[in-house]
């Protein structure tokens, strides 16, 4: 285990900075100072309050890939997973080897999103927003505020393009940027959420707009990229942890506590429960994360190692229970069509149905 601070400076900006500091003065600077200078130099950090010290870098550890990871995403050919202690891992070989990224944070990161193979964002606890411009190898801090709701977490992030993005989080947090994250604006009051329920997830729905779900079955949609929001009539009053647009226009899935899943084909005007065949009592575990795969199929994962897969845009799902029963929080697929699962116990590559490879 070692502090990775000096290890990797692949980012061109960082290297230039170090080169330009090859003076006797630079040598007298402590490493910490160098890094905080680095952080301030490459990223506008408007929300950083003056008395808040720069966050420590995450610690490089061989065990990071077995630590709690809660989201995984594709950045072009690369896989990127995020999780506890500021761990961001990336794989360039479809999930067999993972490298640890250089991350100026040690908090639990809850979500990661890439608009292309270079630009991506990750959010997490202490109201942290991190950004990368090199496909996830090096990250900078864009926003952090431990005073904000006592460090309550941001829970999901979505970007339309390299400039325009939205972040949702605990206690009704909704933040918007129109400059690639250089500045973030609090826009939570655009929603009708006076009680400040957690906003758990955000997704784009094909040919329709964006949809946000949260605590107590809260559902909001926006057809104009987040300017104005409409509160939807929810089919459920328990927590919804995830929302996922499918390959079909206006078709979206929302899922949450105790195996509840709902499907709408009209951008949320009406919802139908998705019946999942799983034993006598039905599926009882929470569904926490999902992905629309390149081939148009939909995968949703949840607690207790449950993996749901649909090849008909979410009308019906096959169910697999992983024998280790470790809770899962995120999923994507690799180039071979195998699933890349994250959750308790870190990241693992599983068969297309979610079971262990070689166990079919």
């Amino acid at each position: 285990m070692s502090e990775p601070v000096m290890r990797r400076t692949q980012s061109g900006q960082a290297e230039n900075l170090f080169r330009s500091l090859q003076s006797p003065l630079a040598k007298t600077l402590s490493l910490c100072t160098v890094l905080s200078v680095l952080a301030f130099a490459v990223a506008p950090v408007q929300a950083e309050s003056a008395d808040q010290p720069a966050a420590a870098y995450s610690i490089e550890s061989a065990k990071a890939k077995h630590s709690l990871l809660v989201d995984v995403s594709r950045a072009g050919k690369r896989l990127v997973a995020v999780g506890e202690r500021g761990h961001i891992l990336y794989s360039d070989d479809e999930g067999s080897e993972w490298q640890q990224a250089k991350v100026p944070s040690r908090v639990l990161l809850t979500s990661v999103y890439f608009v292309d193979d270079q630009y991506g964002w990750a959010v997490g606890h202490d109201a942290t927003i991190l950004a990368t411009q090199d496909g996830g190898a090096n990250w900078t801090e864009q926003f952090r505020d431990i005073e904000r709701e006592e460090g309550a977490p941001f829970l999901d992030v979505w970007f339309k393009d390299r400039q325009h993005g939205l972040v949702v989080g605990a206690y009704g947090a909704l933040l918007e940027t129109n400059d690639g994250g250089a500045s973030w604006e609090e826009v939570g009051d655009r929603l009708e959420n006076d009680d400040g329920f957690h906003l758990n997830a955000i997704t784009a729905v094909k040919d329709a707009g964006i949809l946000v779900v949260g605590e107590m079955g809260m559902m909001f949609r926006s057809a104009d990229g987040g300017e104005t929001w409409e509160t939807l009539q929810s089919p459920y009053d328990g927590s919804l942890f995830g929302v996922l647009g499918t390959a079909q226009p206006s078709t979206v899935l929302a899922y949450g506590l105790r195996g509840h899943m709902f499907r709408s084909t009209d951008f949320g005007d009406s919802w139908q429960p998705v019946k999942i065949e799983a034993g006598r009592n039905g599926l009882q575990v929470s569904l926490s994360g999902g992905s629309l795969l390149a081939d148009g199929s939909v995968v949703v994962v949840g607690n207790g190692g449950v993996v749901l897969k649909s090849d008909d845009d979410g009308q019906s799902f096959s169910v697999a229970g992983r024998p280790d029963r470790l809770s899962l929080a995120g999923v994507t697929a690799n180039a071979q069509g195998n699933l890349v699962l994250v959750g308790q116990g870190g990241v693992r590559v599983a068969s297309p149905t979610g079971l262990n490879l070689g166990q079919q």
Binding site: M1, I59, S61, A62, K63, L68, V70, E84, R85, R106, V107, L108, T110, S111, H125, D126, I146, E150, G151, P153, L155, N200, D237, G238, S239, F241, L257, R258, Q284, S286, S288, N303, G304, R325, S327, A329, G343, Q344
Partner: protein, 792 residues
């Protein structure tokens, strides 16, 4: 000898031999008195005496003992289903009965007893309304297929897999916490101290034997400190039988050596008296018998026999010339009292040097052994000759020793060749090569600490360790725990300012090689916070809100003390090898250095691994000092005795060689340098020097008489070779029976001491004369009156 010294000796001799009845009577009275006390000696396995009390780790542990109360004094009974899994009616019924049976064993902390059958073992589930939960085995359980299915799903939801239920569902645990003292069942107002041996026997009878017989499909595995101590005490008792075996073998050998039943009995009886006196005195000092000091009676017996043999040998030789037994005994006394005293002083100092090691059991061993050798002065140097002066030695034995004195001895003749001008260099070179080789081998391979898995006190294949293996491999747990104590201001342990660094330490430790996992109140806190956020993994981290943190640890029993000023971080290790311990300790110390501040302190150490780490540090620190002291003293003794530096080198070098070879043997056998083996080296050197002193004093007297070296050595061997050989065998037999002890470290001690005694003897017999070829100027010695203390 000078006139002056002879007068002294004569005075003592007169005092003793003119008052023989008084000597016998006094000894008899003392024996009766001390027998009474010796009989009251009890096994004592005080935990505190086995650990280095003044080491800072241990001091910290003791200081916070009350805060960490009941951290670990539990016994775990794992009930294994041999066929199938635990989800069947018969199995669950047996588990229930075992749970109930354990409840009624005295000393069990009934409120903490835990198994699947405890109402306190619950499952929880997050629902729309919040938490849902219930007993893992509900009131409606009836053993039917349906209720077994319900049980299975409850177990899965309970989070007990790896704790109360094995990872493979083939066994379940009954967790039995113990009370150090409990109310007397007959008189509730009195407290009874938990008797570990009795408790351990009850577990065997009432649980293991009973239920394995009752349900042939179960196998029971029991681990825990109390069980281990119980097994240790049982092992200790078995060692008493070894004393009997050593006694019988010695008796046979003594008779073979003396061919005289009278002297055989005299030597055995006086030596037994020495053992009784030693035990009685040790009891009077207030010590008990523990697995370490158990060695002392064996050693005293062996040392006593070897001195007795030399006395008998002397008396037999003298009897050839003297007209009666009394005169022979007096002459032998005059001749052997002083060398005997010197040898005993050397022994005693070997023991005293052990006081350097700051561990209670070793102190008791050192003091007990010193008392023991002092006692030998009275019994075997004084009482034995007096007794023989009455009994005499059989005619047959006297004639045999007379014949031996003039007969040619081909074996000794052959052995004397080691002093031959061409053989001697070969012997020295071989010894040197062996020594250097062994030195580098042991330097590379010898480790500090216990190296075996499981309970190091017991053998790897003992039932306890097999049970331990079973539990370690089937449950998410390790038996080697290093506890870091995190000290905060009162009510401070649940603050973010304390918990965040604890979390970091946990992660740092988990990333340290040799660490399996680390657990603290933060581990619990994160789970509870996740739970209260509807089980979402996105919340499985510390909150900054103080109320959330407070309530998150409310149910983390045992993870912090009553006023929340101390929280243990439990670091589970792969093993307790010295290297693993050192690495873990270093990682904690580095972390403490960076993170200790006002109101937050990371303190080492508790847990069995913490104690072992402290013990290892003490051993590493005292090893060299102790060896230095022992060798310095032995060298001084030799210098005083022989007034010659070459002679001292001749005697000490073979001892050094033996020590090095001993270390190499330990490295080869995978025995670590530990509390049990450290005394071995001191004892080996202290007792081993006897051979050298004895052989060299004879050799010198023959050299003075003008004999060439090889011839002088032949004469030396002829007169004392047999006695030396016999002494070596006696000492070795005394301790060799230990190799079969159920207690691993006793077996290691027995093996190492046997090796040291035998190799020291061989070294003295082969290497000493070869070295003399190079170091001793025989021409200078020849015909010169001796300056030596032992010159005749």
């Amino acid at each position: 000898m000078s006139k002056h010294r002879q007068d002294n000796a004569t005075f003592l001799e007169r005092l003793i031999f003119n008052n023989r009845p008084v000597v016998i009577l006094l000894c008899a009275l003392v024996t009766v008195f001390l027998s009474y006390h010796a009989l009251q000696i009890r096994p004592s396995t005080s935990f505190e005496k086995m650990i280095p009390l003044s080491h800072p780790f241990i001091q910290n542990m003791i200081k916070h003992q009350n805060d960490l109360a009941n951290l670990g004094n539990t016994v775990r009974i794992s009930v294994e289903a041999k066929d199938g899994d635990i989800f069947n009616k018969e199995y669950m019924e047996t588990l229930r009965q075992i749970h109930d049976e354990a409840f009624y064993i005295n000393g069990v902390d009934r409120s903490g007893l835990k198994s699947l059958w405890s109402p306190s073992v619950r499952w929880t589930e997050v629902t729309e309304e919040g938490f849902d939960g219930g007993e893992v085995i509900p009131q409606t359980y009836d053993g039917s297929e349906e209720s077994l299915n319900e049980l299975r799903s409850n177990v899965l939801k309970s989070g007990q897999i790896g704790r109360l239920v094995a990872n493979n569902f083939k066994s379940a645990i009954v967790d039995v916490p113990l009370q150090e003292s409990y109310p007397d069942p007959d008189d509730q107002s009195k407290l009874v101290k938990l008797d570990y041996q009795k408790f351990s026997h009850e577990l065997e009878e009432k649980i293991r034997a009973k239920y394995q017989a009752q349900n042939p499909n179960v196998e029971i595995h029991i681990v825990g400190f109390a069980k281990k101590v119980g097994d240790l005490i049982d092992g200790l008792m078995a060692v008493v039988a070894f004393f009997g075996i050593a006694f019988v073998i010695t008796l046979v050998m003594l008779y073979w050596f003396t061919w005289c039943i009278r002297s055989t009995i005299s030597v055995l009886v006086t030596t037994l008296i020495a053992v009784i006196w030693q035990l009685g005195l040790v009891r009077l000092v207030g010590f008990g018998i523990d697995p370490y000091s158990m060695l002392v009676p064996f050693l005293i017996f062996a040392i006593g026999i070897s001195h007795g043999v030399q006395k008998i040998n002397g008396i037999a030789l003298q009897s050839g010339e003297a007209d009666n037994a009394l005169t022979a005994a007096r002459r032998t006394f005059r001749q052997l009292f002083l060398p005997g005293m010197i040898a005993i002083l050397a022994d005693a100092i070997g023991f005293i040097a052990l006081l350097i090691i700051d561990i209670g059991v070793i102190h008791e061993l050192a003091i007990g052994a010193s008392i023991g050798v002092a006692v030998i002065v009275f019994t075997n140097l004084i009482l034995l000759p007096v007794a023989i002066s009455y009994l005499g030695i059989s005619k047959k034995a006297i004639e045999r020793s007379k014949r031996d004195a003039v007969r040619e001895h081909p074996f000794w003749r052959f052995l004397a060749n080691v002093a031959h001008p061409t053989v001697a260099p070969i012997v020295v070179v071989v010894a040197l090569a062996g020594g250097v080789g062994a030195f580098f081998y042991q330097k590379a391979h010898l480790q500090v600490g216990d190296l075996d898995q499981g309970a190091p006190e017991l053998r790897p294949d003992s039932r306890y360790n097999l049970d331990n293996d079973f539990i370690v491999s089937n449950y998410s747990t390790s038996s080697d725990v290093l506890v870091v104590m995190v000290k905060t201001a009162p009510e401070g342990c649940s603050t973010h300012m304390a918990m965040a660094p604890i979390d970091e330490l946990t992660w740092k430790m988990e990333n340290t090689p040799g660490v399996q996992s680390a657990v603290s109140l933060v581990t619990v806190s994160k789970q509870v916070i996740k739970g209260s956020n509807e089980g979402s993994l996105k919340w499985e981290t510390l909150a900054r809100n103080q109320d959330v943190l407070n309530s998150s640890i409310a149910r983390a029993e045992g993870m912090y003390n009553s006023d929340c000023s101390l929280a243990p971080v439990m670091v589970f290790l792969n093993d307790h090898k010295a290297e693993t311990l050192k690495r873990a300790v270093k990682a904690v110390q580095e972390f403490a250095e960076e993170n200790n501040r006002d109101g937050l302190e990371f303190i080492l150490a508790s847990g069995n691994a913490g104690i072992e780490a402290a013990t290892n540090e003490v051993i590493s620190a005292s090893e060299l000092t102790m060896l230095g002291l022992v060798y310095a003293w032995v060298a001084v003794m030799c210098l005083i005795t022989f007034r010659s530096i070459p002679a001292t080198i001749c005697i000490v070098l073979p001892l050094v060689l033996t020590s090095v070879l001993g270390n190499a043997l330990m490295a080869f056998l995978g025995i670590g340098m530990k509390v049990a083996t450290l005394p071995v080296i001191a004892l080996g050197v202290g007792i081993g020097v006897d051979y050298g002193i004895y052989i060299y004093s004879r050799l010198e007297s023959f050299l003075r008489a003008g004999l060439p070296l090889q011839e002088a050595y032949y004469e030396t061997l002829k007169s004392t070779g047999k006695a030396v050989l016999f002494t070596g065998l006696c000492l070795a037999i005394g301790v060799a029976t230990w190799i079969f002890s159920a207690i691993k470290f006793q077996a290691d001690m027995g093996l190492m001491l046997t090796f040291m005694f035998l190799v020291n003897m061989i070294g003295a017999m082969l290497l000493l004369p070869a070295l003399a070829r190079f170091l001793i100027n025989t021409e200078k010695l020849a015909g010169k009156a001796g300056g030596s203390l032992l010159a005749h």
